[in-house]
């Protein structure tokens, strides 16, 4: 199965205890499916299932039903943004 880099930011990174993880994924799969896979694989992965956790696929904002394609380079998960 392809290996995909998954990165975490801000409070989610601290909850999970790591900034990145190389996941073996049966692509394509949805963001929601990926969240649940990682929630099981990572020690503190349940944090991914918290309300409001957002995601991106190759630097573009994604939603739970969006599909991670075979060509993906990087997926990210993070809490709602708070810039400005």
């Amino acid at each position: 199965m392809p290996k995909v880099r998954v990165v975490f930011f801000a409070s989610l990174k601290e909850s999970i205890g790591q900034s990145e993880y190389i996941a073996e994924l049966a692509l394509p799969l949805s963001i929601s499916e990926l969240k649940h896979q990682l929630a099981n694989e990572l020690d503190n992965g349940q944090a991914l299932l918290a309300k409001g956790i957002q995601s991106s696929i190759d630097f573009e904002f994604a939603r739970d039903l969006d599909v991670v394609p075979n060509t993906v380079n990087e997926v990210a998960f993070f809490p709602p943004v708070t810039g400005g």
Binding site: A10, S11, S56, F59, E60, F78, P79, V81, G83, G84
Partner: protein
């Protein structure tokens, strides 16, 4: 011009960069600062801004592109700082130049609204030995609704 950087910025320099000879009739600018968030002395407080290199810049470019599509603008400048900051430090600059004030004001307002909710930045406040990540404000998301076409 879009910049994500640790260094501070000079508003007068950015302002001058927005001016186009014989064309500019209006420049609207916004500067966001780190406001006091604790009862502790300023020296005991710090503020950290994390971003997602690669994505954050794309987010800002998409917002500026949308502003350019909505209004006839001459130039746009967005500078957002990251890293460790202190109370009263400058965080963000948005400047827009146009022929007339209406589009300059509106585009500046639009860019800040979208930057708050659609750009990958996260704030963390520390006071003494305590620190916490700032939670998103639901009002920021609601502010976007007024721009829906």
């Amino acid at each position: 011009m879009i910049l994500v950087q640790e260094e501070d910025f000079q508003v007068d320099t950015l302002y001058k960069s927005l001016l186009k000879a014989n064309q500019t009739g209006a420049v609207a600018m916004f500067v966001g600062l780190v406001r006091q968030f604790s009862d502790l002395p300023k020296e005991a407080c710090s503020f950290e801004l994390e971003h997602y290199p690669g994505m954050t810049e794309r987010n800002l470019q998409a917002i500026v592109d949308e502003a350019n599509a909505r209004w006839p603008l001459l130039d746009v400048c967005v500078v957002h700082r990251v890293g460790r900051l202190s109370v009263d430090d400058q965080i963000v600059f948005v400047g827009v130049s146009a022929s007339h004030r209406a589009e300059a004001f509106q585009a500046c307002d639009f860019i800040m609204d979208y930057l708050k909710s659609r750009a990958a930045f996260w704030k963390k406040e520390s006071e003494g030995s305590q620190s916490h990540w700032v939670e998103a404000n639901t009002n920021d998301e609601e502010s976007l609704e007024r721009w829906s076409k």
